[in-house]
Structure formats: structure tokens, C-alpha cells
Symmetry: C2
Subunit: 417 residues, 2 copies
């Protein structure tokens, strides 16, 4: 990134469940993603267990870097291992006090919970009341779920603490984000994403190396078959021109499918909606993952019909009309069956496009002839059916993930977007 | 946890993509989970960007805690921002040297890549050769994908560095785990997991508080409708007895569905396989997520038939035989349609059990009558069909996740396991 200073942030998440593999962190990813996208430099993301000393030490360590923003997730619940308020008070050198506004918020939520679960209000309030205790001088953030958040300031650092429940954190953070936005906290930063399918890092790096990029911060992200090049820069003309030149070079030499931020999901959704066309799936080894991905996008009911999870051969035959003879002659994992599945789902759902996926996800079921990772993806449409064969690396999860991405791109190619 | 000392570990992951929201960390979760389960205390998990100074500082900071194990993920690729080897050498105070064994490994992989992508071998080797440079005194770990790992020792800390590609890390870590196992690194620790469905933290805490638990480490994990109580203790009689008493108390008072480690997925898979029965899905708002979850388990083709993603009403009618009149009278999101979907998929796939899911995942599509989060789940089986209505909190993703978990438990209840 160019010479101008960007605000910085540190993120601290607490919770044993994040350290012993029980729960996958999504809060850190969300916060880091939004902040980066808005030009804030995320200096560190630390995860600590529900341990008073370690949480306090980590907060101190994060504050020592004097970030402009310290975001804390987790540790605001009702159990003995919810230590965030206490540790924050400690680190700020102030006492913990019951806050009137916070108590009101907690009481209101306690009333709801008591009603919903048929419990005694006084009991519930007694159990949740500690959530109204804040470091002196801090203010509560209205809860999305049950626990209020905490806002405090120390030196030049603004601190915001949220409960760890992902949807509560998301909702409460977006309020804080709007507040920071109103105050002009976020710099003017431009992010350009160049997305590629069908080229690897080894082909991309040389192209980048040939471009002037001293005004850019350049990152490469490798997904399940997709590569994204991220260009971030200040909002001035010289930097803009440099970024545009990099984008042009990538587009000229490599299979770039998007350079305006849209994902493959966006491209498919928009193309199908514009053309008033629909898509349906026929999934064997992916077992529903492709349908789940297509319908993850709000509003996808406009263009996703649904489809068939044809895990068993009887379902391939019965619901999709794949001829038994085809299954017997070529095997379920074959170009022919992928094509028949794609055509079958198109036919039975009445969709414009049908996508069929059949493969060996592993760990068992592979043979020398049809090894684990072999996946056929077919796409049937008004112009006929196209099938691609793939050999994906990695384990069951990986093979399934790559299959979904390959399927999306096959449809994209057929749609010509 | 009891008085005996447990070995400790620190985890450091590097990669800008983990800090700017592009990639969700799965490596930290995996490593932390395995280590915790084997009785290793995970002291910290730090994520840093591709920044030389910050990575070195974080490694130093992790080593300052004198962990028995330091695991490093990421930064072993071929680009200029792959800095792990360099930073490790720095922190260990040794030079970086090309290692003969590592060079052999890299050359072998370069040959593969060159062949597969039709590139020149010498070119590819030139671009990947830096992966053979290790801190002096370190040894390479054989690569699963392209990059070798690094094993080194400093003081009482054993260091292992892996590439950040998840399946490569998983495979290489399992070799290291086996090596540590052979050396007797892991203590004898017992973990008991008590899984509940239909009770919240507020009901569980009082039960735990009434039990003696000074020899136990107790954790609570809240998932999408499921709660897991984790009891971890030394392998002695006194601790075992205390854990057994806690398990018994929870089972006596609350809806515990598993206390032997098995997940709801395991219970369903085993019950269906034992009975030689099968299941099929009919998914509207979950769009394939339930099928994907059921088929995520290796070997699930023994008992999962597949099913129908009935996102559009035409598919509910056409493929599942849901009467149009039912859809018009009650709406797609209704008890009646959930039941008809469950029966429909059971019928058309020939499965023993059919599960139907229909709901309003949001963000749009809600009404005062049928708000976002309203989800009906039906389960049809030999004894008839049962439907449960739910009102799930949170956003689209959350509603879909909770719906899947509710569906699994409805089938579990019907199977009587």
C-alpha cells in the first residue's frame, strides 16, 4: 500500500471453544474482512482461552501496539468463564460497576427469555445480571441477543466488545461500523479484486512481477480452484492508473472472469435473472453442496429451481431418468452419466440449465481406473450438454468443494459471462 | 483440569488472506482440536499477516512462553510473501541454507507440476527452489502437495512448520502426530463429551454447579441448537468417578442424546446401517445443506439415498407430488407442506425415512404471519409422519444451519436413538 497512513486495528477473541477445535471462528474473519475492505490495517488477530490472566495479557499486548481500534469478541455471557468485562476493567485500571442503562437492557432481555422458556423472571435476571457490570466510564452497546456490548476509550484507542454469538456480533458490529462511518473513521481506500479460474499462482506471479506496483498493496488468495488477486490503493489518480494497468495485464494474459468485485455466484445470479432463466442441479458426490451454494445467495429463488440429490443409483435412474444401461456400461462416475444427470434434472425440473456432478470423493470407492478425486461435471442447456472431467487433489471435503466450484464455472462458461 | 502438568502448545498462522477476511482459517481449528483432544494445552493461537517483522515478533512471543510444541502454518509457498523459513531462521539465530534432501523433494514435485501443466521443468524448479532453503540444523518434512515442511528444535520446544493449504497441512500434520505419539509426547487424558439437544446454557449451568468437579476441566460449547459439555480429566479413578457423576446428573435432568463421543451424524449413520434402512431429503429453504451434511460422512452411501432440492413450488409438485391445492391453501411454508415433502421424498426415492424442510430463511420473504426464521421440519417413516414447527433466530445462514440440525434430531428422535 502507498505511503499514506491507514488506521490500524487489533482483534482479540476469547473462548475455550475457539482453541480446542469445537467452534470454528467466524467472527474474526468477518471483522478482519470488513476492516481490511475499508482500508483499516488489521495488525493482529489473537485467540485466547477463558483464562483471566491470559485474556488480560493479550488485551494488554494488543493495546501496546496502540491500534486505533480494538475489537473484542466473546466472554460477555452469563457463566463464570465470561471474563471480558472484568479483564477490560483490569487493563483500563478502572473498577467494574453495574451500569443503569445496561441493567435496563439486561432486564428487558431476561423478561423475554423467562417468557419464552417458561422460567421465573427474577431467577433469570439474577443469572444474567452480571452482564450489566461494565468497566467504569464505559457505555453499553444495545444487545442483539441477550448480552449488551461494551464501548470504551483508552488513549487513542477505541475499544468495542461484543458477545461471541456470531449473529449477535454481526448485528452489533454493523451498528458500530455505522457510528465509525459517521465520524469519518474509515479512509478512502480502493480495493480491486481480480478473479481467475483455471490459472495457478505460478502463472500469475510473473505477470504481476512485470507490472509497476509501488503504489499498490497486492495479495493473492487461492481458493478451491479459483485465484483472487487483490489490489488495494489510495484513492488518487496515480494509484488508480497503476491498478488499472495490472488488471489489464492480467486480463490480457490469463483467464480472468471478474475484475469488478463480483463473485462467480453474483455473475450467475445476475445473468440468469437478466435472461429470466433458471438452473437445477443433479448431485451425486457433492450430495447437495452445489444446491446449498446456489441458494445461499438471498433472492436465489428467482433463478434456482432446485434439483435432485442423486446419491444412490436408483435415484439417478428413478428421478433423473438416467438409463440403467448407461450406469452399468460406464459406471456412475463417467462422462456419460454426468451428461445424463444434467439433462435429466433440466428435464424434470423444467429449468433452462441443468448441472450434473458425479465423482469419487473418497476416502474409499476409488480404483486404479477411477481414482479418488475423479469428478465429472456436466452442464445441459438450450444448446446441448457439455461435460468436463477433473482430477481434484486432497481429501473428501476438498474434492467436494472443488467440484462445486468447477460446476459453477462450467455454468458460467456456458452462459458466456 | 487436575493438578498434573499437561504439555503446552502455541500455534502461529501466517498469511494476509487470514487477516483480511478472504480465507477462513481451518488449520488453526484442526490443530487446536487435535491437540486439546490429546491433552495438550493450547496456550495461544495467533494469526499474522505476511509481514517479516510481525511474523518474527509473533514467533518470538510464542516461543517466550516456552511451549513444548510450536506449530506454524502457512508461508512456505513460492512467492515473495512466503516468509516462514526466513523468519524461523531469524528467530533461531541460524542462517538459511539449501538442504539437499529438501531440494530432492522440491525437484520431484516440480517435475510433476511441469508435466501436468505443460511447463518447462527448469523454469518451474527455478521458481520453487527457494522452498528447499531451511534454517540450518532443521530437517524437511516430506511434502503432501508441493512445499516441504520444516522440523526444528530450540531449547525444550519442538517446532513444526507446514504449508497453509489445508489438505496438505492435514496430511503432513498427521505424520508428525504419529511421530509424537511414538515418542510418548501425549499425556493420558480422558475427554468425555456430553451432547444435548433442546436445553440451553441457563438450564445446564445449575446442574453442573451442583456437581463436584475439582478434578475436571469443564467446558460448554453452544452450536446451532446443540450444546456440548466437555469434561476432560487425568486418567485416574477419582477423576473418572467425578466425570461419571456429572454425566449421570446431566442425563438424569436434561435431554442428553450422546455421552460417548458420538455425534448426531454418527448416531444416525450407525442406526440406519444397523437396521439396513435408508434416508432421503426434501429441502426447500436449506437448498441442499441437509443432504450435504448427511453425505459429508464417509460411507454414507450405505444409507443416504439422496432426495430432492425442492426450492421452487413446481419442483415440490412435480418431483415430490405435493398437491398444488396444499401449497395454495397453506403456503409453501406450512406444517402440511413439510409433511407432504417428507412423505413425497420417501415415496419417490424408496427410502425408509424421508425428511422435509421448508421455511423462511430471509432476509426477505417474511410476513407477520410467517416471519423470517419460521421453519417446519417433517419426518416420514414406517410409522407415519411427524412435523415440528420452529422459530430460529439470526440471519439466513443461521436459520439454514439450525434447520439442518433440527432435521437431524427429528430423524434421531424417530429412530429412537
Amino acid at each position: 500500500m502507498g505511503p499514506r497512513a491507514r488506521p490500524s486495528a487489533a482483534i482479540v477473541l476469547s473462548g475455550d471453544e475457539l482453541l480446542d477445535g469445537r467452534t470454528r471462528d467466524s467472527n474474526g474473519r468477518l471483522l478482519a474482512g470488513v476492516l481490511s475492505g475499508r482500508g483499516v490495517r488489521v495488525a493482529s488477530l489473537a485467540i485466547v482461552g477463558d483464562d483471566r490472566a491470559r485474556l488480560a495479557a493479550t488485551l494488554r499486548c494488543a493495546l501496546a501496539g496502540e491500534p486505533d481500534l480494538l475489537l473484542v469478541g466473546g466472554g460477555l455471557g452469563t457463566t463464570h468463564d465470561d471474563l471480558t468485562a472484568e479483564c477490560l476493567a483490569d487493563v483500563l485500571g478502572v473498577p467494574l460497576r453495574e451500569h443503569d442503562g445496561a441493567l435496563e437492557m439486561v432486564a428487558e432481555r431476561a423478561r423475554d427469555v423467562a417468557e419464552r422458556r417458561g422460567l421465573d423472571f427474577t431467577d433469570v435476571l439474577e443469572r444474567t445480571r452480571r452482564q450489566a457490570r461494565l468497566p467504569a466510564g464505559a457505555r453499553p452497546l444495545p444487545p442483539a441477543g441477550v448480552a449488551p456490548g461494551i464501548a470504551a476509550v483508552v488513549g487513542a484507542t477505541r475499544i468495542f466488545a461484543f458477545p461471541g454469538v456470531p449473529w449477535e456480533l454481526r448485528r452489533m458490529w454493523s451498528e458500530v461500523e455505522a457510528e465509525l462511518e459517521r465520524e469519518g473513521f474509515f479512509p478512502s481506500v480502493v480495493t480491486r479484486l481480480v478473479r481467475l479460474f483455471g490459472a495457478g499462482e505460478l502463472q500469475i506471479s510473473p505477470v504481476l512481477e512485470d507490472c509497476a506496483r509501488d503504489l499498490l498493496w497486492v495479495g493473492i488468495n487461492i481458493g478451491a480452484g479459483e485465484v483472487t488477486v487483490i489490489l488495494r490503493h489510495d484513492a488518487d489518480e496515480a494509484a488508480r492508473a497503476q491498478a488499472a494497468a495490472v488488471v489489464a495485464a492480467l486480463e490480457a494474459e490469463l483467464p480472468v472472469f471478474s475484475s469488478d468485485g463480483r463473485t462467480v455466484d453474483d455473475l450467475l445470479g445476475e445473468a440468469l435473472r437478466t435472461r429470466a432463466e433458471t438452473v437445477a442441479v443433479a448431485e451425486s458426490c457433492t450430495g447437495g453442496l452445489l444446491g446449498a451454494r446456489l441458494t445461499a445467495r438471498p433472492g436465489s429463488s428467482d433463478y434456482v429451481r432446485g434439483g435432485v440429490i442423486a446419491y444412490a443409483n436408483q435415484v439417478k435412474e428413478g428421478l433423473l431418468g438416467v438409463p440403467r444401461e448407461l450406469l452399468e456400461r460406464h459406471g456412475a462416475v463417467s462422462e456419460e452419466v454426468a451428461a445424463a444427470m444434467a439433462e435429466g434434472t433440466r428435464h424434470v425440473t423444467g429449468a433452462t440449465w441443468g448441472i450434473g456432478v458425479t465423482g469419487v470423493a473418497g476416502p474409499s470407492g476409488g480404483s486404479p481406473d477411477k481414482p479418488v478425486g475423479l469428478v465429472y461435471v456436466g452442464c445441459a442447456g438450450p444448446g446441448g450438454v457439455h461435460v468436463v472431467g477433473n482430477r481434484f487433489p486432497g481429501d473428501r471435503d476438498n474434492v467436494r468443494d472443488w467440484s462445486v466450484v468447477r460446476a459453477l464455472h462450467l455454468l458460467r462458461e456456458q452462459l458466456g459471462v
